[in-house]
Assembly symmetry: C2
Homo-oligomer: 188 residues x 2
DNA sequence: TTCATTATTTGCCAAATGGCAAAAGTTTTT
DNA sequence: AAAAACTTTTGCCATTTGGCAAATAATGAA
């Protein structure tokens, strides 16, 4: 669990008893490639810290295409933050792209931590904000770039991943078709 | 200032003395079309609530193109949240697209409010999170849509704006060239 | 290992978008 | 009102990406 604790410590101070409490509140979960951590239509009741592996968040658009909204890799939290906070059914799936090791907080654990650790909410808010800002900053320039550049940027961000991720996931994330991505790959 | 207060009240309760305090901490500012509220390279020291008008957030990409990252319309806060919080120079401009009336909070005012009003941080965090989630949710599907659809969606979101915004702003927001946007307009 | 299934590549052609420069239209300044 | 400056439209053609279906490759199950 060191990854989690170190990650939290980046956003605020915690003393040893607090750290121990956090460790007790978290549950280690393993997910196999392809399994879902949370599903569209359900109210998410857990938050995952990805200790190992890769997730994606995806949904079906009005045309029925499956769209990968973004990838979440290790050392990050994965959750449909909006649905989780508002306790409304999610409109997206959170799915393991590779086998994953997760550290899972339940809603109750989070409430306990929030009530017990005075810095907790502050830490979580900083983490949330940083994650969202990163998403905006990654998505925003993509519109101005051509498909090849978007793919190259993905390669840079996830160097050893491009070949472990199904083409269809990656293509929909990049906003192109599978065949186009295949051609782009060949041309590089 | 009712717009501001009503907006804040959507995210938490405030009693009258608190509301009065907030009103005292805020400064009304008018900006003319084209003027900047904050500029790239500077550390932002203010947050604006847009009472009237439209802003855009823009930057220059590596090719030197000016890119409109997003628009912010009335009843929303405009700030480069990341630079503001971390006190680092912004990499983007916040510019008035139309004449605007703003309610401006300085860093000091915000600190005072945070120290005095117990609910303040919670309210601000909710607002921040909501704004960021909205940005992600608006950007994300754009990649999967063609230019015409993106334009139509913009028209829907800002019905009476498309013709008041320079073509260049809108085109770079939509991720297309001015000429393409001009042709799309004609074809509708 | 072999078969079945799924994922990826490829060919062919169509559609969307870009690049550039000139023309037309608007707005601002003098 | 005329000139200058800026914005938008348009023509022409190149490039990028898409759509579809078949071929190939890779993966998983029997």
């Amino acid at each position: 669990m060191d990854k989690l604790i170190n990650y939290l410590l980046e956003f605020g101070q915690l003393n040893q008893p607090q750290i121990d409490l956090i460790k007790r509140k978290v549950k280690v979960v393993e997910l196999k490639k392809g399994e879902y951590f949370s599903e569209a239509g359900k109210i998410p009741r857990q938050v995952a810290f990805i200790e190992e592996g890769l997730f994606r968040v995806c949904y079906y658009n009005s045309k029925g295409d499956e769209i990968t909204k973004y990838f979440v890799d290790e050392n990050n939290f994965a959750v449909d933050i909006n649905s989780f906070n508002q306790k409304i059914p999610s409109s997206e799936y959170v799915q393991a792209v590779t086998d994953c090791t997760l550290l899972v907080f339940s809603t109750e654990s989070l409430n306990d931590l929030s009530a017990t650790i005075i810095q907790w909410d502050g830490i979580i808010n900083k983490i949330t904000e940083k994650a969202l800002v990163e998403k905006v900053n990654k998505l925003s320039p993509m519109l101005a770039e051509d498909a090849t550049t978007r793919y190259l940027n993905f390669l840079e961000k996830f160097p050893n991943l491009a070949n472990r991720v199904p083409l269809s996931y990656l293509a929909s994330y990049l906003g192109i078709t599978q065949s186009s991505l295949s051609r782009i790959r060949k041309s590089i």
